[in-house]
């Protein structure tokens, strides 16, 4: 991960972590410019206790270590996320939030990882006083004393330091060293998620937007994790400037909360999107978040996994091909065959709609030809690549006088000269004629 100052006049972001036994560890990130609330939302993925320090983000990770499989695993995930969002950041882990902030500001070629107090104190000794970002008069005085590092301060008697430099500075020092408590105000995750970002340059190709949108999706995933929520739909607004926006709604067949799933669906949608004008900014909005359902059953048989994989597939197919291109099938109580079968949007909510009719029906073809194909008639027999042989029938279907599409037909099962099984009907009303209405397949 790139460390130190970012080239674009980057800001610092820090992250602290408290431990349940009262000791704290903190990690800090120095990042490129990025709306900090969005980054705080992202951090919700790791811990609900997030603190926004000036230009820094601090996470209390002590309570999360076990969940994420230890400090190295947690740090790896943080780094992966930062890399995926293309954020340069300086990480530090310390036993107190303030120490973590100072360590991160101090920078260094690699992240300072000090999970307990002794190592934190040892690491702090080497931190230059510039990393404390003191007010200029205080900084000048310290420089006048010939003090360069925190270690130089620690060799001096604390009481006289307080007298010369003021109580607040000594209290800060004690907080960083873990001698007194340092309570932090937590970031309050907003009730509704709406985050945006400006693109560094106008983007003309929609697929490229995915890269920027990834930051917003990561923020959304963190927000969802912190609120233990899931979403069925999100809306990405692409701002073209001059008040012109494109709305890209995404719908999911089941509530989702993982960044990877949202990203995969978003990718398919953006791949097929054509922008009307270059995009200048993005905004991600969630209309309604619902509580996440507890993962139940299916722990051992993999059915849950299969179900999730299927939902993911359907969402991506719908995102790319259009929602009309992915359908389920449902029966409908109507005698007219063309109305007895309906395509239903994926995942029919009403399970009764897909139940077949209770009474046994005469044979129906698997494929329906819509609209029915007119057949020639020769010597009173229907023809289709030669005469058709009628095997069974007729079955009279007469219905629909009330809704304008009145049908009165006599259906036959027929076989053609190529041994294909057809479902044909004859219209007894003038002008009559034979029609192919289905294939038995």
């Amino acid at each position: 991960m790139p460390a130190g100052d970012s080239p674009s006049g980057g800001r610092q972001t820090g992250i602290p972590v408290t431990q349940s036994d009262g000791r704290q560890s903190a990690s800090l990130a120095r990042t490129t410019a990025f709306p900090t609330p969005a980054l705080a939302c992202w951090a919700g993925r790791f811990t609900p206790q997030v603190n926004l320090a000036p230009a820094a983000l601090r996470l209390e990770i002590a309570g999360s270590l076990r969940l994420f499989g230890g400090l190295p695993a947690l740090l790896r995930m943080v780094r992966e996320d930062l890399a995926a969002m293309d954020l340069a950041a300086q990480l530090a882990v310390a036993a107190t939030p303030l120490a973590a902030l100072w360590l991160a500001r101090a920078g260094g070629t690699e992240a300072a990882i000090c999970p307990d107090l002794p190592t934190t104190r040892a690491a702090l000794a080497a931190v230059p006083l510039t990393a404390l970002e003191l007010v200029p008069p205080l900084a000048r005085r310290l420089e006048g004393f010939g003090l360069r590092r925190i270690g130089d301060l620690l060799t001096l008697p604390r009481a006289s330091l307080g007298a010369r430099l003021g109580k607040p500075f000594v209290i800060d020092l004690a907080r960083a060293l873990g001698e007194i408590a340092d309570p932090q105000t937590c970031f309050v995750f907003p009730e509704r998620f709406e985050q945006g970002l400006e693109l560094p340059a106008p983007v003309e190709a929609a697929p490229v937007l995915l890269f920027a949108a990834r930051r917003l999706v990561a923020a959304l995933a963190g927000w969802l994790a912190a609120r233990n929520a899931a979403v069925r739909g999100i809306e990405l607004r692409i701002d073209h400037g001059h008040g012109v926006t494109t709305s890209v709604p995404l719908a999911f067949s089941a509530p989702v909360h993982a960044a990877t799933r949202i990203e995969r669906v978003l990718k398919e949608r953006l791949d097929t999107l054509v922008l009307s004008a270059p995009a200048l900014a993005l905004r991600l909005r969630v209309g309604h978040a619902e509580p996440r359902e507890a993962r139940s059953q299916a722990l051992f048989d993999g059915a849950g996994q299969r179900h999730e994989a299927l939902a993911d597939l359907m969402d991506r197919l719908a995102a790319r091909l259009g929602s009309q291109a992915v359908q389920g099938l449902a029966c409908h109580a109507d005698h007219r065959p063309e109305l007895a079968s309906r395509l239903s949007p994926d995942n029919p909510a009403d399970k009764s709609a897909i139940k077949p009719p209770a009474s046994a029906i005469p044979p129906r073809p698997l494929w329906l030809v819509d609209p029915p194909e007119a057949l020639r008639e020769f010597h009173g027999r229907p023809q289709r690549a030669g005469p058709l042989t009628l095997l069974a029938g007729p079955e009279r279907i007469e219905s629909g006088w009330w809704d304008g599409s009145d049908a009165r037909r006599d259906y036959f099962i027929a076989v053609d000269s190529q041994a294909r099984w057809l479902w044909i009907f004859r219209d007894p009303r003038p002008p009559g004629g034979w029609f192919l209405h289905g294939w038995f397949g």
């Binding site: 994989a309 299927l310 005698h335 044979p363 027999r381």
Partner: protein, 242 residues
């Protein structure tokens, strides 16, 4: 036989020419005992492409798969149809034993989308069987390298993949390890195994697939109405003519 030779022959990586190869993945029972006996592993392969080449569409090629699909959906497994040639008729599917909530239909408009959807569906672990009608969307036929992509994709997903293809391709080379040619034979369906993992099949099999049973004459399904007065006469005439 020399006992050590017999021992060697037990090894799974040794195959004798007159026996089936060890099936790489579990199979899906076809529902036809005679067909199961001829297929390596005793059923439709999972994780490998199966090509079905019906002589004409409508001769009963879906009927061949129906027992397997009914069993799968009854167990709650998902079946995906990609670019079906006609509109599927829900009551008929339900009557054939297919659970409709386990059925998904995908209608891609362009060949590129169709291939993408097919690959994604085959790769998805949540789809147990995928039925594909891809050739119609391509100018000419589905290119051979696309077929190979499909085969690789289904190897990842591990479901069944049934690709319906035009009969003219029977002589073409194909990466699919199982290829069946389907011909009508009266009420039955003649299945010729063009290719399988194992010794070449010597003869084709006749299968009794489900055919629409004749309904009794004069059944009025909907609002009352008499059958055509000349219906029986008409049928008789057509039988005689046939």
């Amino acid at each position: 036989m020399n006992p050590s030779l017999a021992q060697v022959l037990q090894r799974p990586d040794i195959r004798r020419g007159d026996a089936f190869a060890v099936a790489p993945a579990p199979t899906l029972a076809t529902g036809f005992a005679r067909l199961d006996a001829e297929l390596p592993g005793g059923g439709w392969p999972r994780g490998a492409l199966t090509e079905l080449l019906p002589e004409h569409s409508g001769i009963g090629e879906i009927g061949l798969l129906l027992p397997a699909l009914a069993a799968l959906t009854a167990a709650g497994q998902t079946v995906v149809l990609i670019a079906p040639p006609h509109g599927a008729h829900a009551p008929a599917c339900a009557a054939a034993g297919i659970r409709l909530d386990c059925l998904r239909l995908v209608f891609p408009r362009r060949s590129r989308d169709a291939l993408w959807a097919a690959v994604e569906s085959l790769r998805c672990g949540g789809v147990t069987a995928t039925l594909l009608w891809l050739d119609a969307l391509f100018r000419g036929y589905l290119p051979a390298n696309s077929l190979r992509r499909l085969h690789v994709a289904v190897g990842e997903g591990g479901g069944g993949a049934f690709c319906f293809r035009p009969p003219q391709l029977a002589a073409e080379a194909s990466p699919a390890p199982l290829r069946l040619q389907l011909q009508a034979a009266g009420e039955q369906l003649r299945v010729k195994l063009l290719k399988r993992r194992g010794p070449p099949a010597r003869q084709s099999i006749l299968l009794d697939i489900a055919r629409p049973a004749g309904f009794s004459q004069g059944v009025s399904h909907a609002v009352a109405g008499a059958a055509l007065p000349d219906a029986s006469d008409l049928r008789q005439r057509s039988r005689v003519a046939a």
